[in-house]
């Protein structure tokens, strides 16, 4: 879903660029609470995996393909602030070196794929895990339940990124089209791509949870919640 140059006009691109810079600045601070010297390699590795996985387009319908965004995956594995940074690194390398995604559209792509998708994916994962805990004994959370929550988060993250594009196109698209036309087309195709995102996100998160649960930020946060059993969940949630 990398936006090339020319789709969105300059004013909206500039606003998105400013939002992206602000988000990265906030994330540089926020990531201090997520990334330790010991967990830094996992954060770097996650960015590399997202880059690699984004090269693999899978077919979703006749004549259409999609690829992993990886924003929900990154948020679950290394934390939402670190995920914003990881996605920004990937998108910047892609735009500067591989001409994938426009240069003037870099802010737009960071906002959609690096911020909106991360935020939506993270809160969906947290919400899904909260439901899992309500329905089952919190101590008996299986790998498959975490995987399911990750998959749902992946699906929602793609729709969030697509929604970001819809808003940007309506605000500053260089071709006059009704919002309804663009929204229907974008959400339809990306619901299909979202299924692929869900499957890959669920598989990768499940695999890491199975072999190295200590590396998964989304579980570390939850463990703190369990450890602080008496305290309110809301305090730690955000």
């Amino acid at each position: 879903m990398h936006i090339p140059d020319g789709f969105i006009d300059a004013p909206v691109s500039i606003v998105a660029g400013a939002v992206a810079v602000a988000a990265v600045a906030v994330s540089l601070r926020g990531a201090r609470n997520e990334v330790t010297e010991a967990s830094a390699p996992m954060a770097g590795l996650t960015a590399v995996f997202v880059f690699a996985a984004q090269m693999v387009n899978f077919p979703v319908a006749a004549g259409t393909s999609g690829h992993l965004i990886g924003a929900a995956l990154a948020a679950i594995l290394i934390g939402p602030y670190a995920a914003v940074l990881a996605m920004t690194v990937v998108l910047t390398v892609q735009a500067l070196v591989f001409a994938d995604g426009g240069l003037s559209a870099l802010g737009l792509n960071v906002v959609n794929l690096g911020v909106l998708a991360v935020v939506a994916g993270w809160f969906t994962f947290r919400g899904a895990m909260w439901l899992v805990d309500r329905w089952s004994d919190g101590a008996r959370r299986s790998v498959s339940r975490v995987g399911l929550a990750a998959g749902v988060a992946g699906f929602v993250s793609v729709l969030a990124a697509a929604s970001g594009f819809i808003v940007e196109f309506v605000a500053g698209g260089n071709v006059p089209l009704t919002a309804q036309t663009v929204a229907a087309a974008m959400l339809g195709v990306h619901a299909l791509i979202g299924v692929g995102e869900a499957v890959i996100t669920a598989m990768v998160v499940s695999a890491v949870v199975a072999v190295r649960p200590d590396l998964v930020y989304g579980l570390r946060v939850r463990r703190r919640v369990v450890a602080a059993a008496g305290q309110s969940d809301a305090r730690i949630a955000v």
Binding site: F49, V56, P59, A185
Partner: protein, 149 residues
């Protein structure tokens, strides 16, 4: 878990201790320690350098929407479209470099992303220690910054 590599026993204590608890809960994993990172890095290289050759070349979701609704023609070439690695190909003398070039582009991309991301997150992780009134992070910094005189 044995502490291979020595060095930073103090500053990784928190997470290591957590890992020990985890390994007691979940049973020790054959992917403990660095083996996990080595395997994951190899998987990334394999995905970018080999699996990517099998990727679908059909338009992606956004390109499809652009074609169907009629704004595809508003796309412009990126300012970096002359990059030697543009479109995940290695441009050698202007000709298409084929699967070998695509594989090389993937591997170079992995290396570039790794260099930037590991550098960035190493900084973020270290800064946190420094801010928290860190232990040996300060002395380590001093040692590396003034090796000469």
């Amino acid at each position: 878990m044995s502490q291979a590599g020595g060095g930073h026993i103090g500053d990784v204590g928190e997470v290591r201790a957590h890992a020990v608890v985890e390994s007691q809960v979940h049973g020790s994993s054959w992917l403990a320690g660095r083996r996990f990172y080595a395997l994951a890095a190899a998987a990334c290289l394999l995905i970018a350098g080999v699996v990517s050759l099998l990727a679908s070349s059909q338009p992606d979701g956004l390109e499809r929407v652009a074609q169907d609704t009629g704004f595809a023609s508003s796309a412009q070439d990126s300012a970096t479209s002359r990059s030697p690695l543009a479109d995940y190909q290695v441009a050698v003398g202007g000709s298409d470099s084929g699967p070998l070039g695509a594989a090389a582009a993937g591997v170079v991309g992995v290396a570039l992303t790794a260099a930037v991301a590991f550098g960035l997150f190493a900084m973020v992780g270290r800064r946190r220690l420094g801010a928290g009134g860190g232990n040996d992070a300060g002395s380590e910094g001093a040692a590396t910054s003034s090796p000469g005189t």
